[in-house]
Symmetry: C2
Amino acid sequence: MTTPTNNAVEAKIRDFLAERIVAVCAKDVDALMAHHGPAVRTFDLVEPLQYVGVEAIRKRAEEWFSNFEGPIEYETRDVRVHADGGVAFCHGLHHVKGMSKDGTKIDMWWRHTECLRQIGDKWLIVHEHSSVPFDTASGKVSFELKP
Amino acid sequence: MTTPTNNAVEAKIRDFLAERIVAVCAKDVDALMAHHGPAVRTFDLVEPLQYVGVEAIRKRAEEWFSNFEGPIEYETRDVRVHADGGVAFCHGLHHVKGMSKDGTKIDMWWRHTECLRQIGDKWLIVHEHSSVPFDTASGKVSFELKP
């Protein structure tokens, strides 16, 4: 696209994404939730169709973290940021590695879209969408995909 | 959130979404693709992880439409639009009903996020994300969810 994104805003949003990665690796729910707006609507990897409101999303994050035994490794790839005025979005591929409490190795890539609004001098998440696609032939979740 | 979205822009983007529904119901690939920017990146319901560029997305739309025998019914629910400056996003629940070529009834809700930039007086899709969540207990796609 030809419209440039404001570089200062893009830098701020990339910092914000980096903070989220640190929060996940530290399993720090409070730090992870510091950027969510109160009316945030999340389309998560797992059902139901949507989580609405910061409390529902906090509960889901607690469940997610509690599923890991030991450390979480987290990386993002090919993140693109668009921002203008008080609206921004970014999208990229996310990857988590670790071990679940039942001893299963977790090593999964998924797609992540983050949508934000600027409230005062702070950027808050108003919508996020995480997912793994499925395979039409088998109807199964494509957990093994790599970029 | 407290920051208002520009109402005229919101109306334009809702018109645009309505046009897309008409395009899908008519299985009109050209009409559907009229709003995609050339470098669009799509996270689709089905694998791979991403489709990049308008040609890849056109091919995928052709495959999707060709899977239907007879009409497609399409509705959206609870679509929220945020726009400021030349950046906008919207998110909602989408529902399609129809019959596949192999005689299987299709009746599926999914989550849809659309991210746009204004280029001149036109809004173009630069990113879209469609997905169905999965069930953690079974590891299966949650095709049967309803809002």
